[in-house]
């Protein structure tokens, strides 16, 4: 069945992947550059990683970003999960389409507009811009991603499992925490990871809603690049790329392993039965 690799296939593969990864590869490569000039190779060195750690501004921004990402993705996950559940559970009611549309709308809304409208609101209620406003803004836009992920999981959820719990004497609230939540946990976790990543690399909305003393890493990187790219930026970017890569690899490995184990178990059970 397996077709040999034709020259056409090889060329397409190489071109596709270089298109995707060449820029990132260059960035990683130059983060180990001895020279201060970004485009001239001056030999291998890890000094920029040290410089990066000593750069307080950069480290503060990284810390701030991390805090915002953790807090906002946690809240977004809670709210998004509730929204996702409700959308599936309420069945049909007048205006359902409008409601579901309104949950999805922020997915396609231009970020500039989301950012601007949030800024206007914060000004209107005279909320001091800083950590709090960025976090609120991030919750707002990442919540709908969680809702979508959870909702798609809930569609295939066998509701009689919850009914079974009720039937066995478990009140609704406890049923949610002991039965529903553990079962949909993978969706909730991937929703959390998704909103964490979204918050981590958001530049536009953060720029609108940040105030003095609350600069996030993407903002910091963007502003330093305007003064010229330094190898330090390459270094921190490389670390970000590394983190994301490791995260994705681990996640796919774990889920792949789970599927394989599950399939094996099911085969065994079926074989035993006969």
């Amino acid at each position: 069945m397996r077709k040999g690799l034709s020259p056409f296939n090889i060329v397409s593969l190489v071109m596709g992947f270089s298109f995707l990864y060449l820029p990132i590869l260059l960035l990683v490569l130059f983060s180990f550059n001895e020279s201060k000039l970004v485009t001239v190779w001056g030999g291998f060195s890890t000094k920029w990683y040290g410089e990066m750690i000593r750069n307080e501004g950069l480290m503060d921004a990284a810390w701030m970003t991390l805090k915002i990402a953790v807090v906002s993705s946690t809240f977004a996950t809670i709210l998004g999960t509730i929204a996702g559940l409700v959308m599936v559970r309420f069945g049909s009611f007048r205006g359902r389409l409008l409601f579901s549309g309104m949950i999805y709308a922020p997915l396609v809304m231009p970020e500039v507009i989301t950012g601007l409208s949030l800024l206007l609101m914060f000004v209107a209620i005279s909320l001091d811009r800083g950590f709090l406003t960025i976090t609120i803004a991030h919750i707002t836009f990442s919540m709908c991603y969680v809702a979508v992920v959870v909702q798609s999981r809930m569609v295939t959820f066998d509701q009689s499992i919850e009914e079974a719990a009720l039937d066995l004497g478990c009140p609704p609230m406890r049923t949610f925490f002991t039965v529903t939540l553990p079962i949909i946990m993978p969706a909730v976790v991937s929703g959390w990871l998704l909103s964490f990543t979204l918050s981590l690399d958001d530049l536009v909305i953060a720029s609108f809603t940040s105030g003095p003393g609350s600069t996030t890493l993407p903002m910091k990187i963007y502003s330093s690049v305007r003064l010229g790219v330094t190898p330090e930026i390459n270094a921190i970017s490389t670390i970000l790329v590394g983190l994301v890569t490791v995260g994705v690899l681990v996640a796919s490995y774990v889920s792949r392993r789970q599927t394989l184990i599950r399939q094996r178990d099911e085969r065994l059970a079926a074989a035993e039965a006969t």
């Binding site: 009914e163 079974a164 009720l166 039937d167 066995l168 478990c170 039965v179 553990p182 059970a269 039965a273």
Partner: protein, 385 residues
């Protein structure tokens, strides 16, 4: 479905509570109606179920039987009417406070818990002390023979084993009533038959009142003490399996359970102990040995089961009563039975069944033979609707 033989029911030995007027019903439905928008799923049903019965709700899909079961479990509220369990009105009681457990069609096992934890779940909710949970869980696990599988998770079990876990989980709380929603629907035929008998044994052992929903008439006949045949949200007939099969009250019930030949006719003579019916379809006078509540000339239907008919090459003594003439159209050989399709002179097709008591080497009656089809006056049932 010729194998639907009326079961000489195993529970006939116990007292037939529904025939004893001094018996209080254990579960009582009073004029229960359930509407979903404009659609009436359950239409004004009143029903009494007695303690330790194995009661079946039988009907085609969409007849409201599952809705009725879900109202007993508390997942649906009746639009009007009351449900009483052991004298208590259940209307306002949420499912998690009802002394009723349900076995779901999909089994609804908790995928993140192993067999033991699944079964222990209900007891934990009631705050039963853990040593007692342990003994009671072990008890039901051995009752359904799952000892080796106690630590497995649902996806590590076969369909039949999952079914047992679901049963054990719903039994462990010793509910006043156990509801079973198509409990054997997902099993293959052989396993299903075996499980039917196991279910009956467990029911007898525990004495719990079972209410089962099924669309499989054979299953209902095998396991039940009584059957309620449903159609379009109404109960058409409630009776023992034998009565349902032998004395159906309508064409619908007669047709739903097993194979039947139905002949339309007009009442010619109606006496206390017999009735004579003129039937064009049968092409003869039909005599039935029971009186009916109909005027002379009224249109009625006579139902005769295929296995209660005889087939002969020679004319009987009285060729005008309960005797039809026709031609053998088709023969189906099923091993234990032979099914004859006979085209009557009136054009009606009749199905009759013959047990192959001798080994069939050469058929005495074969294709295209002119035959006489007869039946005893007490074999047919006259139906008014």
């Amino acid at each position: 479905m010729m194998t639907a033989i009326p079961s000489g029911n195993n529970r006939q030995t116990t007292v037939e509570a529904w025939k004893d007027p001094s018996q209080e019903p254990y579960i009582r439905l009073e004029n229960v109606t359930k509407k979903f928008g404009d659609f009436t799923a359950v239409d004004n049903i009143s029903l009494d179920i007695f303690k330790s019965e194995f009661f079946s709700l039988l009907g085609p899909s969409g007849c409201g039987k599952t809705t009725l079961l879900r109202m007993l479990a508390g997942f649906e509220q009746p639009t009007s009417g009351r449900i009483l369990l052991d004298g208590e009105d259940m209307s306002k009681v949420p499912p998690y406070l009802r002394p009723v457990n349900m076995m779901f069609q999909s089994y609804a096992l908790f995928p993140h818990m192993n067999v033991e934890k699944n079964i222990a779940f209900g007891l934990k909710q009631d705050g039963v002390p853990s040593p007692e949970i342990k003994t009671r869980v072990d008890e039901v696990i051995s009752m359904v023979q799952l000892e080796q599988f106690a630590k497995r998770k649902p996806h590590q079990l076969s369909g039949g084993q999952r079914q047992r876990v679901a049963l054990a989980r719903s039994l462990v709380k010793k509910p006043k009533m156990l509801l079973l929603d198509e409990p054997l629907g997902a099993l293959d035929k052989k396993l299903r038959t075996r499980t039917q008998f196991e279910l009956m044994n467990i029911q007898e052992e525990t004495g719990i009142t079972f209410v089962i929903v099924t669309h499989d008439q054979e299953e209902a006949m095998t396991v039940s003490s009584r059957i309620a045949v449903m159609d379009h949200g109404r109960i058409i007939q409630t009776a023992t399996p034998t009565e349902i099969y032998e004395v159906p009250n309508s064409r619908y019930v007669a047709n739903f359970l097993g194979e039947v030949n139905i002949f339309e006719g007009r009442v010619a003579e109606n006496a206390r102990d017999h009735v004579l019916i003129q039937s064009q379809e049968a092409g003869c006078t039909i005599r039935a040995d029971h009186g009916i509540d109909a005027a002379d000339g009224a249109t009625v239907w006579v139902a005769v089961r295929p296995e209660k008919m005889y087939i002969n090459l020679e004319a009987p003594d009285d060729p005008n009563t309960n005797c039809m003439t026709g031609q053998v159209w088709d023969i189906g050989y099923l091993g234990n039975l032979s099914i004859y399709h006979i085209k009557l002179d009136s054009g009606t097709m009749v199905t009759m069944a013959r047990t192959n008591k001798e080994r069939v080497v050469e058929r005495k009656i074969t294709w295209d033979d002119r035959v006489y089809v007869t039946w005893a006056p007490d074999a047919g049932v006259v139906l008014l609707s």
